[in-house]
């Protein structure tokens, strides 16, 4: 999986800025995607490309349980969010709904990755290669249940 990085150098990117409250009434995925990250980055929708990754600090996706958040990001083309840590509901919404991969990275990796870097993520090796400078980082492996749900393609396809 290869993609370009859109980096936010901040912690606690909450679901209110990922998709602001007034749009909660919208359930059309394409319409929602037009407002992704509008709270802090109104140009996001016009500059994001299919396959891009978001890189951010700790507690990504905190706040409201709105599934609109991973839906809006994935409909824009975001395949993975690489963050130092995640809030729990955003994390499980991303995985159970098979919208995008929430990948935990350490603080040092977060600081090493720059905006516009091109990354390759290798899930089998739990490894991230920075194709822009050939640096190699490790990612925190998924727990067993998360790994299985991701492989199945979401909770509804997962067999207990």
């Amino acid at each position: 999986m290869k993609g370009n990085v859109i980096k936010y150098e901040r912690d606690n990117i909450d679901t209110d800025v990922i998709i602001p409250g007034p749009y909660l009434k919208i359930h059309d995925y394409i319409e929602l995607s037009k407002h992704a990250m509008e709270g802090i980055d109104p140009d996001f929708h016009s500059r994001v490309n299919e396959g891009d990754f978001i890189v951010a600090g700790k507690n990504f996706g905190c706040g409201s349980s709105r599934e609109h958040a991973p839906i809006a990001l994935s409909t824009c083309g975001i395949k993975a969010v690489l963050a130092v840590s995640f809030a729990r509901i955003f994390y499980r919404n991303s995985v159970d709904g098979a919208f995008l991969l929430p990948i935990e990275i350490d603080e040092k990796t977060y600081k090493s990755i720059s905006n516009d870097d091109k990354l390759e993520i290798n899930l089998e090796r739990n490894e991230i290669v920075n194709l822009s400078n050939n640096a190699i980082y490790s990612m925190k492996p998924f727990s067993e249940i998360i790994g299985k749900i991701i492989s199945a393609g979401g909770l509804f396809k997962y067999k207990k």
């Binding site: 409250g21 009434k25 709270g39 507690n59 729990r88 499980r92 159970d96 979401g154 909770l155």
Partner: protein
């Protein structure tokens, strides 16, 4: 085992569970509202396209539905969502649908306790992050997204990783001008908005024993703001009485074992808690009210599942009685049952006489949706639970989170005010 572990063990058919175990727990109650409901309908549509049968729910009697975020309907799309929600409950045989303008309705988390919809020891999930609120009744109460709620509706169970539990012990009694809101803001300030991520926040001690059920609900409500999976308080006689008065029967009390495990214990002296405010733009950004007495305000908002229960309105009314507000002040009781009691007891009269506006139950401006949202640069003191950028309106508006006592005192002076400093 502690209470959360006991509930999850029972619900997953195991003798015991420990933190990090993954279990599929049978769910006793499920809640949807006018945002998560249409979200679930969308998931059902997707499942149908994949050939997955969504024609029947696992058990419609376990499901209840609230209309709260965009009601009274804000515009065309939210009106259509409310219509969709009614079709959904009709088609699937869901009887407990609290419709606005048709008797009791209100904010979902408020209905959970006002209507005794959840009992101690139950596993309760809802399509809203503040589902944690209901854990104050001694239940495992946890918020989920649309896909997970859809899964519960169709399968009657859902996976959980058994959380570690942080135990917050409160000794003594909060002073007269201090409310549960001040205590939970203090805790969030201490541990941070990710301080309890994936974990349980359990509350106990003599200070909790003395607290009313409504105050306890304020604590568990904002465990969400510390990232917790659930907040929980063991049911006691007070809980049982509270639920009996609201029609519940066959209630049990589940307590943690004497040797239960807690991964961290935090201890607080109630006498040391002061009126506290969370400054923009995070619930962890706290300080004592007196540090902010120069902050001029545009608005006071007394509403939401956090800060518009009967007791919250009573606290605000005590401060506002015979006074005049200096800034725009909005009071929105969290459910019709609370609205009615506030009316019967003269609280609404006090608010209106003071110049405040009394509105209908709604999540409305708390989530920046409608009915009282903030303009650019407006500054609001609010009894709600979040103050992220743009949460209550314009991205450049500001929200200070406070107790109903502090919000009411500030409404009178137009500045952030400690209730002790009112003349």
């Amino acid at each position: 085992m502690n209470i959360t572990e006991k509930i999850l063990a029972r619900a997953s058919g195991k003798n015991s569970v420990a933190p990090d175990d993954v279990v599929f727990a049978k769910v006793d109650k499920v809640m949807l509202h006018d945002v998560s409901g249409p979200g679930v309908i969308k998931v059902f549509d997707k499942l149908n396209n994949q050939g997955i049968d969504t024609s029947k729910l696992h058990d419609p009697s376990k499901v209840w539905v609230a209309e709260d975020h965009f009601v009274p309907t804000a515009e065309k799309i939210s009106a259509e969502n409310i219509v969709k929600l009614s079709e959904f409950t009709k088609n699937y045989g869901i009887k407990k649908h609290f419709k606005y303008g048709m008797g009791q309705y209100g904010i979902c988390h408020t209905l959970s306790h006002e209507e005794a919809l959840v009992s101690p020891g139950e596993v309760y999930v809802g399509g809203d992050s503040h589902t944690n609120t209901t854990g104050a009744l001694g239940a495992f109460a946890c918020g989920l997204g649309h896909t997970d709620v859809a899964y519960v509706l169709l399968n009657g169970e859902i996976w959980f990783k058994v959380p570690e539990t942080f135990y917050f012990k409160l000794n003594g009694e909060l002073s007269e001008h201090v409310m549960a809101k001040d205590f939970i803001l203090k805790i969030i300030g201490d541990i941070g908005t990710d301080g309890a991520t994936y974990n349980t926040m359990q509350f106990g001690g003599s200070g909790i024993d003395r607290m009313s059920i409504e105050s306890r609900l304020t604590l568990t409500n904002m465990t969400t703001e510390a990232g917790a999976k659930n907040g929980i308080i063991e049911a006691d006689e007070k809980t049982i009485d509270y639920l009996h008065q609201r029609g519940a029967t066959n209630l049990k009390q589940i307590k943690s074992d004497e040797d239960a495990n807690y991964s961290k214990i935090f201890e607080y002296e109630a006498s040391e808690i002061e009126p506290t405010v969370a400054k923009p733009f995070s619930p962890e950004n706290i300080t004592v009210v007196r540090d902010l007495s120069s902050i001029e305000l545009d608005k006071a908002y007394i509403g939401s599942c956090t800060g518009a229960k009967y007791e919250d309105l009573l606290a605000a009314a005590k401060v506002l009685k015979g006074k005049q507000v200096k800034i725009r002040t909005e009071v929105l009781p969290a459910a019709i049952s609370i609205y009615k009691k506030a009316m019967q007891d003269g609280l609404l009269q006090i608010f209106i006489d003071a110049g405040a506006m009394v509105g209908p139950p709604t999540c409305g401006a708390c989530c920046g949706a409608h009915m009282g949202v903030l303009a650019k640069d407006e500054i609001c003191i609010s009894t709600t639970n979040r103050n992220f950028p743009g949460r209550m309106g314009h991205i450049d508006s500001q929200t200070y989170l406070a107790s109903p006592l502090v919000a009411a005192a500030s409404a009178i002076t137009g500045k952030i005010t400690d209730p002790r400093d009112l003349n």
